[in-house]
Assembly symmetry: D2
Homo-oligomer: 101 residues x 4
């Protein structure tokens, strides 16, 4: 499946979606920094996003320490941001909404 690269204007427009609060387009990536209650909750979130990655067959860059996780999304093949990245971000937000942070 081919995914078209979104233009900066299209990305900016998509990020006005209230479900994508605090996601930013930066250095070619869609990025968000998450802060959780504690380490356990961060691990629980991260494992759930791993399930998302597998079901979308699309994998994020991630980094973290203790209760903090940062995510960077990009469609490597397309060398830009595509619908796949937005789908991943929306799925992560759905998981976040299921947590009492």
């Amino acid at each position: 499946m081919t995914h078209s690269v979104l233009s900066p204007a299209e990305i900016a427009s998509r990020l006005t979606d209230s479900r994508l609060k605090d996601w930013q387009y930066q250095d070619g990536f869609l990025t968000k920094h998450f802060v959780f209650k504690n380490f356990q909750q961060a691990v629980g979130f991260w494992v759930q996003t791993a399930l998302v990655s597998e079901s979308l067959n699309h994998h994020a860059n991630w980094s973290g320490v203790y209760n903090r996780i940062s995510i960077q999304l990009q469609t490597h093949d397309a060398q830009g941001i595509t619908e796949l990245d937005l789908k991943w971000a929306l799925a992560a937000e759905k998981i976040l909404a299921s947590l009492v942070v």
Copy 2:
């Protein structure tokens, strides 16, 4: 560390703790059935309880399918219910309270 086995009366008394809602003493185990929003949330919960098991060095019996997980607790060495089982159950409830199920 040795843990004393609690008597059935002590167990019954401890299970009146409102934080231990729906836990039952059955066939020598402390048991609860959990139902989650979906598979992802069940996995997130389960992984967090694995962290609890590791930090308490006390491991539950578990079973599940899709969005359902059942837990059975017993202190194998002591052949009964001890404080360790109650600690595990309370930690699991704290995780549950951090989820929007």
Copy 3:
């Protein structure tokens, strides 16, 4: 996607596949009992099978304690064993083969 139910003879034939060592057809389920080095390894295996479940959109029944995990597979919709169950079992065996148990 519809999956046809395999007959007991077809199941027996498929289970002669050397990659499906120790899988049994029992009470309407494909079943295997796994024993791992320790709790950590069991958790690592289980989480990887959760990724398989998500990518196949097919979920196993599982149970376990400490370093032991039992899996029961069935295609609920089809009320029997289908190709989906065999795919899941083969994926689990691939994960197992990547562990030093």
Copy 4:
């Protein structure tokens, strides 16, 4: 429990341990880059190190994408490398040794 900060000479000496292959002392952190067979295996490894973090009550900095994970260790409280970091690294190596990468 207080942990003494190791001197650069002590760290260099400890890193000659053959079990700590490819760990480096860099910018104040003990660091290693891991490459796994695939995403599943990376997730399995990462979750197991989360169990280590919880049982040592000591948490690594981590980052990754797909089948790659980088770990950075430091004892934040002590503002340096301590026995805790070496324990974590040795535990991670034990997990790595249980995988066919």
